[in-house]
């Protein structure tokens, strides 16, 4: 099923190291490969320090990848120069929604100028009236009022701020959006608001999402396919239902067994699966397809078992 779809992002052997050659070298992302297909929501799950946010930031070129390729619509963007025209075009095609609704909006700017930042950079509004009108449309799209334009970020609640951040990303009319833990800082009753909004926008505008999160139940709900990341590597990748019903990697199994469910009966009877963190990777292992559409990081013997 995956083959006949059009990949919008192809990540090939991406490596993102920090402090290379120093004592504190960090292999934040260590050789990961995956495709994201047009129109889907690709979930990337992992615990803190797994490299999931770094992967997102490398794809959107906040970092310069150490090695590997990132193809966006078939074109390698991993080596684009910062001020090149191609880079500028890429900046309007891919956008990001950030985690912390309090840190993601400049406290000294009015909402109008925050949302219009992309319009200004890419010259998408010819004059002031058009700019105001565009901002009004964007505010409406995220269910905020035009009166909010002249307010400052700190006057808004977390959920409202997150919607302002979404409006800012949508201003440049991107096709692909990376949402980096967009709801983890929000209250439960507000999370659903934001998730519903993201899904409505996706449907209306035919967007592709990469949804980075540690909340597995929400990821399962929103994603078509899910990749599980651990210690800089993707250890398992499959359709959302497949990951949940048929997890193959011990880490995925451990992660799934730990999700708290708002149901006392399930909680009382739950069996937690522990994952041995001391020995997780060895040289014989590689990322391979063990069942159609189901990828696993394992050695060939293990792979043969599942085939």
């Amino acid at each position: 099923m995956a083959e006949d779809r059009n990949p919008i992002v192809q990540v090939k052997h991406l490596k993102q190291y920090f402090n290379i050659g120093k004592a504190n070298e960090v292999k934040a992302v260590d050789d990961v490969s995956f495709n994201i297909y047009e129109g889907e929501t690709f979930g990337l799950v992992g615990e803190s320090g797994s490299g999931k946010s770094t992967t997102g930031r490398s794809i959107i070129r906040l970092y310069k990848p150490t090695s590997g390729q990132i193809l966006f619509r078939g074109e390698d963007i991993s080596k684009l120069k910062n001020r090149s025209p191609k880079m500028k075009k890429f900046r309007s095609e891919m956008q990001m929604i950030f985690q912390d609704p309090y840190a993601s909006l400049n406290p000294r700017m009015k909402v109008k100028d925050i949302i219009a930042e992309g319009l200004d950079i890419h010259g998408l509004a010819k004059n002031d009236d058009e700019r105001t009108q565009r901002v009004e449309e964007l505010l409406d799209m995220v269910h905020l009022n035009p009166e909010h334009m002249t307010r400052y970020p700190y006057e808004f609640s977390g959920g409202q701020r997150q919607r302002i951040g979404i409006a800012r990303a949508l201003a440049v009319d991107p096709q692909f959006i990376i949402a980096d833990e967009p709801i983890s800082a929000l209250d439960v009753s507000i999370q659903a608001q934001v998730v519903n909004l993201l899904q409505d926008i996706q449907r209306d505008r035919g967007l592709t999402y990469m949804f980075i999160a540690h909340d597995l139940s929400m990821v399962k709900y929103i994603s078509d396919r899910i990749a599980v990341m651990y210690a800089g590597k993707i250890v398992e990748l499959a359709d959302a239902d497949e990951i949940y019903n048929n997890p193959l990697h011990p880490y995925t199994q451990s992660l799934l067994s730990a999700i708290p469910v708002p149901d006392p009966e399930i909680e009382k009877t739950r069996e937690r699966i522990d994952f041995d963190h001391s020995r997780h990777f060895n040289d014989q292992q590689r990322f391979q397809e063990v069942q159609p559409g189901h990828f696993l990081y394992c050695d060939d013997q293990t792979a043969a078992k599942f085939k």
Binding site: Q95, A103, S104, P107, I114, E117, L144, T150
Partner: protein, 340 residues
């Protein structure tokens, strides 16, 4: 709690609310950031008083030619060392009386000054009006302060931002320079300058310019390091904003509190530095007055004519204390977390 209250039945009808527009409205009145800062600053009485005092001092210095009662450099040797006299009001200390050989003598009568001649703060050893000299001296000190601040703003801020924003090798290189500059004592720089240049305002300014920006640059660099990881800066980068635009739209506005507060500490430092140089005799040359030269002159006659030193010393202290306390007040005012 167990009792069921009696309520008319018609109150129990379901409200069908489809629109939740009302709950999106913001409950608090709209205050801009600056309004908020102003409110917090003016609620601090000490800082407000300091602001008023400094405002007055600045105004008087700006309009010095109009305010000063005499020409500050005009000598009248026959009226030298007259004590303060405030009109014909007989206020102790301001009545022209002087202790001479254990007797109170009217100094003005003694030198044969015509009636109506009086110097509010007295005169110096050359018969120059001390009040006018203090007004002009303050003006000169403030000029030094303004120039030092300009250097801070024009060198310190860009230097700090570039160093913090670029990071890596650029940062390492720029920080080595800062370390070298800050490891040389200011005084040595000034003394070396005096060999090349004549003592005067220019050399004081150059001396300050060479070293004064270092603290500002360090502070700005540290702040920039924090700010550049903020998600709104990352968002601007993903939108394709250029580095210069990010600096002007995102970094400088959010650095403004640091900048203003640091400036509040640069001002008294510069004034004091000038006073110090003039006091030890390598600052402003005669006959021009600065607070430092006035102190230096006053100190020579302090045992006999203490008023000649008291007046400039009080003004200098006032400026220093007021700017420091105002700096503290501004720091609190710019911090939204500070409690009310």
């Amino acid at each position: 709690m167990e009792q069921v209250p009696k309520i008319p039945k018609e109150k129990f009808k379901l409200l069908n609310k489809q629109d939740n527009e009302a709950s999106e409205s913001l409950g608090t009145p709209s205050l801009t950031y600056l309004q908020d800062v102003r409110r917090r600053l003016f609620s601090n009485k000490v800082a407000t008083a300091c602001l008023i005092i400094l405002g007055l001092i600045v105004l008087i210095s700006i309009f010095a030619p109009a305010v000063a009662p005499h020409n500050p450099n005009a000598q009248k040797v026959e009226y030298s060392n007259l004590p303060p006299k405030l009109g014909n009001l007989n206020i102790p200390g301001f009545n022209g009386m002087q202790d001479m050989g254990g007797k109170e003598v009217d100094a003005y009568k003694q030198v044969g000054a015509p009636k109506g001649t009086y110097y509010i703060l007295g005169t110096d050893y050359l018969g120059r009006d001390l009040l006018s000299r203090i007004i002009y001296g303050t003006r000169l000190s403030l000029i030094v302060a303004v120039l030092a601040t300009l250097v801070d703003l024009l060198i310190g801020i860009p230097y700090g931002i570039v160093s913090g924003w670029k990071g890596g090798r650029v940062d390492t290189f720029l920080q080595r320079i800062v370390e070298i500059v800050s490891s040389i004592p200011n005084l040595i720089v000034v003394i070396l300058m005096m060999i090349i240049l004549k003592p005067g305002l220019t050399s004081i300014i150059i001396a300050i310019a060479l070293t004064g920006w270092v603290t500002m640059a360090r502070l700005i660099r540290a702040q920039t390091f924090q700010l550049k990881e903020q998600e709104y800066v990352l968002a601007a980068r993903t939108l394709g904003e250029s580095s210069t635009k990010i600096a002007s739209k995102h970094l400088i506005p959010n650095l403004s509190s640091t900048i203003i507060i640091q400036t509040m500490f640069t001002i008294p430092n510069a004034i004091f530095f000038e006073a110090f140089l003039s006091f030890i005799g390598i600052g402003i040359p005669a006959p021009n007055a600065s607070l430092g030269t006035l102190l230096s002159d006053g100190q020579k006659a302090f045992r006999f004519l203490p008023y000649q030193m008291w007046a400039p010393a009080i003004i200098l202290s006032l400026i220093m204390i007021a700017t420091n306390l105002l700096g503290d007040g501004l720091r609190d005012a710019f911090d939204p977390q500070s409690s009310d």
